[in-house]
Structures are given as C-alpha cells and as structure tokens.
Symmetry: C2
C-alpha cells in the first residue's frame, strides 16, 4: 500500500509542478515513501479537526518541497481540494510556492527560508514539554504529542539549524523526530561541492540519537520511528538515504530540484510506476485507504476528547486557564499589575524588566529568555525557575549565544500555542535574527522581541555593539511594530501593547542608559504610535520636534532652551512610527500641524523621518557608525546635547536670536 | 618566562578594565598563558612590519577580550603605546571596547559580534591557500602562513561559526588553527545552562583534527601547535581547558566576564602572582624577552624578503601582478572588457552574470561564489574552475547553503588581501547575512554582495522569497552602497563602481525578470547615484518620477501614458540613493526641481523616498508582504502597471484629464 500511496504522491507532485510550470519536483518525488508512511501511519492527527491541540506537529522544513505537503493534505482529507492542487503556485491559491501558515489547515508553519522549519520545530517540541509540565496531572496526559520534521541538505547546512539542534540536544527534547532527506543533491549539484561533513557525528555531538535508513523502504521508516519514540531524553535524527526524483528518468540529478520535469519524463515515470497517464490521478484504493484511516483518526481523537473531559472535570480551574491561554486571551485586569512609576531616572531596560516581572505574575503563559544576555537585558523572571532538560516547569529559557535559533524557537513556541513568548538580546544583534523576525510578521504571530542597548549610548563597547541602522531596519519589516519608548511609563505602554496584540510581533527597543520620567508621558497613548507630549503654550508652535526613545527627553530639554529664546516648541513622542502613520488622518494632521517647521531627532539613521518632517525638514540623526567611549562624550561628539540640538534648530529655522 | 609574561598580561588586562571602569577582564586573564605562547613562540610576525603579507594572521574571535590583544600588541612592540592601554575604551583611543580593524596595526579584523572572527579566519586561511596556488612556484613559497584564532564558548554557539567550520573542514584548510578557550562560563553563568554539546565530536564531524590541552600549561600549548602544523589537510581545533580569571579571587566566576574586578581583587591577584602592586607594570625581563624576540622576527622577515626578491627576479610578470592585486588596483583599461549591450530585454541577473564574466577575464584576483544558488544568481565564472580541497587554483567558491558564513568568509578573504571577493544569494536571504555586511562596511572592505530576485517579481516562490523591505534595509547600513540598476547598462555601471570602490562594500540588487534596455541609460552616471534619464520636452516638467531597478522602465512607460494626456514627465533613475544624496547640492537641486510634484516608484517599502519627494509627495510602493503567483499577475495586483501608475499620478496631481 505504501508504494501505491508513494506512487500517487509522485504523480501529483510531478503534475502540480508541470502544470504551474514552476516548482520543485525532485524532493517530493524522492521522499514519497517517507511521506506516505508518516502521514498514514506515524502522525497522530485528524484532518477533520486540524486544530486539535494535541495533534502531532509535522514541519516540512525543506519548504520548497511544498507540493509534497499539499499532496499529503489532499490525500489525507484536509481542506485541500484537488482544484487547489491544480492551482499550485497561482495567485490566491492555498497552494503557494512555499507552505504558508494560515493558507490552509495542516500547514503548521511557513517554510522556505532554509533551516527555519527545523528550528520552529524545536520550539514546538519545547512548547509541548512545557505545556505538559503545566497542565498534565497524574493519570491525565492531555498534552502528549510528537513533533516531526522533514529536512534536507540545505536545512542541515544553515547555521540556525546548528544552533537549534544544539539547543534541542541540550534540552533533551526526546519527542522531536527529524528526518533528514539525505539525497546528496543541492542546487549547484552534488553535495560533494560544499557539504561533506559527517552529519551523524555532528548530531551525536549535539546529544541526539542517530539512525540511518533507506528512505525508500517503508518498513525501515516505520521501525526507525518506533525506535525513536522509545528514546525519551534525546531528540532523534533519522538519516534517510534517498534518491532525488526517484522513479523518473532524471533520478539523482540536481536538475530535478527546482524545475518541472517535462511531459516526457513524467510520462516515463508514470509508466514505470504503473500509474495511468492521467494528470492528477488518485487511485481508488488510495482514497479508500485514507477513508479507512479517517475512521481510526476520529476514534483516536475521540479518546483524547474523553481524556480531556475527565481532566477538565477533575481540574476545572486548570481547564479555565487552558482555555484562556490557548486562545491568547489576557486577564481582564492586567493593567493593575503594572508597578508604580518612580519619578527617578531609569534605563528603559531596567523599567522593562520590572514591568515584565510584574505582568508575568498574572500571565503564567508568558515565557521567554535571552541569548545569554539576561543580566544585561533584564528579562529574567525572578519568581520563576529555569527550563531545563527533564524539568520543563520553569519559565526562563537559556538560549545560549544563539540569537537566530532564539527567534525561530520563539516562533515555534508561539505556533504551538498555549504560550506568549519573548526573547531578548542587544539591539545590534537583531541582525543575527532577522529571518525569524520577518517570519513572525509574515505569520502574524504575536512574538515579543526585546532589544536593549539601543544606540551609541551603549558607550564603551563601541561601534560593533552600537546600533545605528537597526531601529529603522526593523521599522521597514511589514507588520512588525517597532516600539522605542521614551521612559518608564511608555515602556509599560509598549509592553501592554505588545501583549494585547495577537496578530503580529512587536520589537521593544530599550536603552542601556537612564532616562528621566517625563511629566506627561502616557501608558495608553503609546498605542497611538505618537502623541503630543508637550504643547506649545498659547497659539501655534514655532517648531515641532518628533523623536523617540532617549531623544524625547533630549527634545524636551532643547525645547526648554528654545523657550528661553522666546520660541514655542511642540514635542511629539513617537514610540511607534508605523502605528502613528496608521492613525486616522485627522489625528495625524493634529500632530503634524501646518507649515510649522518640523524637526526629528533620533540617535540612528534618520531617512525614515522625512515622511513626517518633509523634504525640507531638519533631521538630527546619526549617519555613520558609532565610537568607543563613555556615552556622555559620545553624545557631545554626535551632537546629542540640548545645546547642540537647540542650536541646530535655531539655525535651521533661521532664528537669529 | 611564559608564566612571567602571562602574569604581566594578567596585570595589564586587569588594570586596563579597572581604569576604564568597563570591559571584560575574565577572558584575557584566563587565556594569559595561551596568549603568551602564541605571541612569543608561535606567530610568524614582525611588529615592526605589521603589513608583511606573509605574516601569520591572529584573530581574537572572542573580541570582548580586547584587553588581551592590546596587551599583546604593546608587549611585542606593535605601535600600541602604554598610554593607549591607559586610555582603554576612551573616545578616540586605539584601544576601543572591541578590536577595531584599522584602529591600530596588528588588529587583523574587527571582532565583538560573536562568531564573525572565526568565520573571517576561515576566509583568511582560504585566501592564503588561493594566493599560494596563484603565486608560489616550485622552490619559491612566498605565500606560506598560518591563521590562528582564539575563540570562546560564545563563538562556538553561534550558527555562523558552525557554517564556517563545516566549510573549513570541507575545504581541508590545514593551516587554520583554532584555540577554543573552554572556560565553561558564559554571561548568564555556567555553560551548563545552555551549551552541553560535545564540541570535539561535532568538530570531528566537520572533518577537523581535535586536541585537548590544559590551557594554562605552556608546554601543552606549544606541543599542540606543533602537532597541528603537521596536519596539512585538516583544520585544527585545540580545546584549551581554562579557568576564567585564573589567579584572581573570582577565578571561575561569570562575574569576571564583563565587569571590572575591583581594586581588592586585583591587589590579591598581583600578590598571588608575585607582581608589584603598581598599575600597568611590565617587568624588565619581559621587555627584554620581547626585544630579543624582535631580533628573531626581523631575521625571519629578512629571509622572506630575500625569498620574495629571488621569486620576483625569476617571475617579474608575476611580481607585477602581485603588486597590483595586493594594492587593490584595477587594470587601467578595464571598461574595454565590458560586453556589448544588446538591445533586447534581459534580466539584470543575467546581464550581471555576463558582465561579471567579461570583467573577470581581466581580473584574475576576482573570486567568489554563491550560497548554493549560482545557477539562479548567474555568478559562476565559466572560464574558471572550482576551489576545492587540495586544489585552490580555481576561482569559483561553493559556499553551500551558508549565507552567513559566506559573508564572513568574504570579509576574511578581503582582509587577507590579494583578492577582490564577491558572493551571491537571493536578496531576501540578505537577512541571513546582515552581520558580515555591516562589518564589511564598518571595516571599509570593498566586498561585493550580489543579491538577485529583488522584489515581488520573483513570482511563484511567494512571500518567503520576495524581498519587500530588503533594499531599504540595506540602504540604511552606513557606508554600504546599495545599487539597484535599471537595465544592462546600469548593471555594468554598478559592477564598475563596485570594483572601483576600494573603501567599502557594495550590494548589487538584480532582477529575476527581464527588463528592457533603456534608450538613455548610462554606465558612467551610475556613480552619481541618480540622473535624469528622460527630460520633459520644452520647459519645466509637470511631474518628476524617481525610481530604481525594474521600476525605471515602468516609470518610462507611465511617462508615455502621461504624455498622451499632455503632461510632461521627467524620469530620474536612482540606482543608488545614498550616492545621489551625497552629490553636490547643485546637482541634487538640478534633478529635484522646485515645486514640481514628485513621485517615487519602488516595488518595496517606500518610506525612504520621502526625503526626495517630500512629505506631500506620492510614493508608489509595496507596504506588505508579497504573494505567490505569476509575476505579471502580481504586478497588476500591487498596482505596478503603467496604467495604474499613470492613474495614481493623475489623481495625486489632480489632473482631471
């Protein structure tokens, strides 16, 4: 039967790519037996209830093999009609070029950028253990599932995979099972060109259990999975030797990786496999096989529902909590947990840490950690323990110096469900983790990235550690909210906004240095993205200053100096420029004014501010790399003192006072 | 003697951090013996001639231990006066918080962002072998040096290190010798918190040779280096077990990682080590030791100079070439190598590939490759062979699916000297390699990054493969030139500009889809960053359109439509916005006009264009993620057709024609 299913998958994948005149047939055809076994025998899932919380997760990390996943979803009865297979890679189809989370049920994560899927899966497997530690009770194992991954050579070469795999081994994620499709082919040709390492030895070094199988032998696949399941303290790597595009005349060639096979090759393949020549053919016995499977799956899920009911009956409070966290709902009175705002200067990283800790007491679902910088980023949850191998009840994750994996693991935790996840590092190292930040935005996952040490004010660590372009580089990612609060109150507002957001990620950009508490700053107005913090007295202002973060207090000080020269200044705090620009036009206009000279101040590249201040506006910014030295000296050097700012504004406005 | 030198290093490092009240004393103190042996016995170098091309390279990948490097440079006689040690981490000092390439002789690369140094060193070791393959002749080994690295736990956790180490093993870089300072301490505490993998086993899997030593035992260090040198086909990892801050009362504690030790602890350390209590003390015997060493080093270099002269005499043409390439000089008539520009539509990735191949025939120093996408990015040098283990005479590098390592290895090749290096991948994956792009800019290295598939025009591969924010995200990196040429001629101009640039990196952003050859496009004017491609006939234009890349031909087509409505359009091609904004004001004004409505078109996020078009200007852009589908359908969906553009402009200008 597996061979018949595999043949069907081969035919569908080849036809999809051929019809689309675009796509990657080699991998789906080369892993057809593997996939047939996984989706028929291995996975605990119910295509009729794709959101079943305790389903096994399957991640196609080699996302270019999307045709494989779509064929599987169709054959097993997910909402993936044949018409969608025929619209593979067409505009608006569920069958996008790479699997898109949300496009169809059964797609657990967006893959395509290599390595991300495997690292997401580490997050999912971790979330499973953490959720089990919270909600399971003796005799009530309501959380108990596996996470499977199908990865290729490309995934295995990526650094993010290395980081995530090392972390998975460290945490002993025994229910993570990764199939490595070892077909020895990459886009440029044989993997001998660039990838000759001993993968098994490397993964043994990470603390994984290794098996080697013939990926075309269904029995070996089954046995390997069964063996992997017996190992509860080590992740499993199953190295499946396969032949890319096996069964076609081009088997073994890198030409099958990313281009249609051509009608003749497909015809030859179908003949060889004993398939009819029809396009998109599904044999009756395959349909019947999966119809039979659906009965089993329904039964399996019903058993779980029963288990869940028994648990809920015994632990009604737990169940209430379960409902809340799996729906990403916040407690109604969360604001009341916020600490008092002390009227003394505080670094927003410190305020942020206090706010996080205060909010976390009401949010047991809030988990996170740092890429080995928690003492600096202040994101450690003091009242909670660490997550570690064998004990997943803690809430603090130690990611190690693995920023990229941290981002992808956070995405995986969020995708799994049951948690709100955050991760922190220095802002300058957001560059190490841009791909998962982007994917969080693309997938609309409410992950929270905490980036501290946000400008040259970092000081002595110098230009390698001083972000200059990073705030702007984050702002341009569609769907990401980049928040740079100006003081403790705005930091609370930013944290609240990030937590209330359920449809996308937030980056919190915080300072190393102390900032004063601003007289009229606001928790609530942060959600507007920008607001008038200081209004010019009387009539119209002579100048309007826009700024964010540490430059807001600088703008206030400069405004004081200008007031001394008889000039009235409106100071606008812009904790989130993207949000401000999305407010109703009247609100934006009320802030921008008309024909008043406009100035923006930011300790970073400034080109994004011209949209607010106009081409003729003044942008006081930093357009080169930083320097190593005490922060105050650097502030003077870069012209970020009240005096220098006031002077520049006077000159710009041609006020000869 | 080594122990005395080590003690001196300990004292200097502790004093530097203490005086600066900032820095990382633990690592320098913990690796003092290791460093003493390397700088006294192991390194082939001459502090009096720090640019000696055949010197061994030493890379402090654990850049936070900068005090160690500065102490070594001072003791061995580089231009690193004691006064600079006393100004550690002060504004304008040579002794920046992290080692800055260019700040002082003897600093081979900028480190601090973890993992980059080790990956740079892979590039250096590769460059050494490649340069040897080109210039050495039987009996004339003028290129023959080692590359040493000192890396810590943090470096070993980073994915970029994993990628680069796998590549180094694949290429059999036998003259790369990495010391792993295995002190089991990271910022958050013991490495047991996050890093329990078996590093030796992992590196064995990469194909490295592994040794384990006591890092505090100078004899073991010496023996390990000697052993490593006998292995010519495998990189060496020497795992040196050390105790962080050894010799201080805080030895072994993570508290010594990133904060001053405090006066009492330093006093206790000095007493224990038998050092006088004075700050910044260098015993006479240490000074004398290195004075003696300098005699040896001078002699060693003289021998090389002699060897070089003999070689130059025998191979004068080779020597001429050597002089040219080591100075980054281009042949005078390089432009003449450019191919004819065919008046037929061509994807700029294809034009780029032809131009690259044509220029490469005159530039044997031009080497590069792709992160497993050469068939798509078209950067393969057809007339040159591959670089592979045992044969480094080729010019094509197969980086594998390792974008991050690719960037860092390119930086290393460039830092080594003797080559111009380029690397290619899809633009969307520039996110995987931002840290080395940034470092190339920070170090003013003329590395060329080729990024193809530059917008939603990628088509069927969908949003994971369609850059939206990436062009703008590159433009904000200080010192990087981001060039998005509009046709074949501009692509030639962009390649020429990138090659002529010797003080910083360039990103070439190229299309997957075909673009027409524009009638008045220019090779030369690309260096202006922007120029008028089509001038409105007669008097002043009614509207000015700015655009780059594929949107320039779109702007031209829209201008034709507007002409049909009697409106005169100036079309400005902006292949490099940063360069345009840096032209003399008169030139910029001549392009911008006065009071003429301005429009920008770009198939990506548009906020950077308001600086040119003004706050009230029209920016036709893409502010959300892409879609999977044929490119033409997406163009219609996103409003990137001549008709849609012309309509938007008419509406914006309130032309009711």
């Amino acid at each position: 039967m597996f061979n018949t299913i595999a043949g069907t998958i081969r035919g569908l994948a080849a036809d999809m790519v051929e019809k689309a005149k675009s796509g990657h047939p080699g991998m789906p055809i080369g892993t057809a037996e593997l996939a047939a076994v996984i989706y028929s025998e291995t996975l605990k899932h119910d295509p009729a209830a794709p959101d079943w919380p305790d389903r096994d997760r399957f991640v196609l990390s080699a996302g270019h093999g999307s045709a494989l996943l779509y064929a599987l979803l169709h054959l097993t009865g997910y909402d993936m009609p044949m018409d969608e297979l025929k619209r593979f890679r067409q505009f608006g189809a569920k069958t996008a070029g790479h699997p898109e989370y949300g496009a169809a049920p059964g797609i657990e994560t967006t893959t395509g950028p290599l390595g991300q899927g495997l690292a997401n899966a580490v997050g999912m497997a971790l979330a499973e253990r953490m959720l089990a530690a919270r909600f399971n009770r003796p005799g009530h194992e309501i959380v108990d599932h596996y996470t499977y991954v199908l990865a290729g050579d490309g995934c295995l070469m990526e650094g993010v995979t290395a980081e995530a795999s090392s972390l998975a081994g460290h945490l002993g994620l025994g229910k993570l099972i990764v199939f490595y499709d070892d077909n020895q082919i990459s886009i440029e040709g044989s993997t001998n060109l660039a990838f000759t390492e001993n993968v098994a030895e490397r993964y043994a070094g990470y603390g994984w259990h290794i098996q080697r199988i013939d990926g075309h032998n269904p029995n070996q696949v089954l046995q390997a999975v069964n063996k992997a399941k017996t190992l509860t303290t080590k992740p499993s790597l199953i190295i499946a030797k396969t032949v890319i595009a096996k069964g076609t005349p081009l088997a073994g060639s890198h030409k099958t990786h990313g281009a249609p096979l051509g009608k003749e090759n497909i015809a030859a393949m179908k003949e060889k496999l004993g398939l009819p020549a029809d396009e998109f053919h599904v044999p009756e016995e395959v349909s019947q096989h999966f119809a039979g499977k659906q009965l089993e799956w329904t039964k399996q899920r019903a058993l779980w529902e029963e288990k869940f009911r028994a648990w809920a009956e015994e632990y009604p409070d737990l169940q209430q909590e379960w409902e809340r966290v799996t729906k990403n709902e916040l407690p109604a009175d969360l604001e009341t947990a916020l600490p008092d705002f002390e009227n003394s200067p505080a670094a927003t990283r410190n305020s942020g840490g206090e706010i996080l800790n205060a909010l976390a007491t009401r949010l047991p679902e809030l988990v996170g950690g740092s890429a080995d910088l928690a003492p600096s980023t202040k994101t450690y949850l003091n009242e909670a323990g660490d997550v570690e191998a064998g004990d997943f009840s803690g809430r603090n994750l130690h990611f190690g110096v693995r920023e990229h994996a941290m981002g992808a693991v956070l995405n995986g935790i969020s995708l799994h469900g049951g948690f709100r996840a955050y991760g922190s590092t220095f802002l300058v190292f957001s560059d190490y983790m841009r791909p998962p930040i982007r994917l969080a935005a693309l997938m609309n996952r409410p992950v929270i990235f905490v980036f501290t040490h946000d400008s040259f004010y970092v000081g002595e660590d110098g230009p390698t550690h001083q972000p200059v372009e990073h705030v702007e580089a984050l702002r341009v990612i569609p769907g990401l909210h980049t928040m740079r609060p100006a003081d403790t109150r705005e930091t609370a507002g930013a944290w609240m906004a990030a937590l209330k957001r359920t449809d996308g990620p937030t980056a919190l950009v915080l300072t190393r240095q102390k900032l004063p508490l601003l007289p009229d700053s606001s928790v609530e107005k942060v959600t507007r993205g920008g607001y008038i913090l200081r209004e010019a007295e009387g009539e119209n202002p002579d100048v309007i200053i826009f700024s964010s973060g540490s430059e807001v207090s600088l703008a206030m000080a400069a405004a004081d100096l200008l007031a001394g020269s008889g000039k009235k200044t409106r100071v606008v705090s812009v904790p989130c420029r993207e949000l401000l620009l999305n407010q109703e036009p009247d609100y934006v206009r009320s802030i921008l004014g008309e024909n008043t000279p406009r100035v923006a101040i930011e300790a970073g590249v400034g080109n994004g501010w011209y949209r607010l201040v106009g081409a003729g506006g003044l942008v006081i910014s930093v357009e080169k790399f930083g320097e190593s030295g005490p922060a105050e000296e650097l502030a003077a050097h870069f012209g970020f003192t009240p005096e220098a700012v006031a002077e520049k504004i006077k000159k710009h406005c041609q006020w000869n006072t």
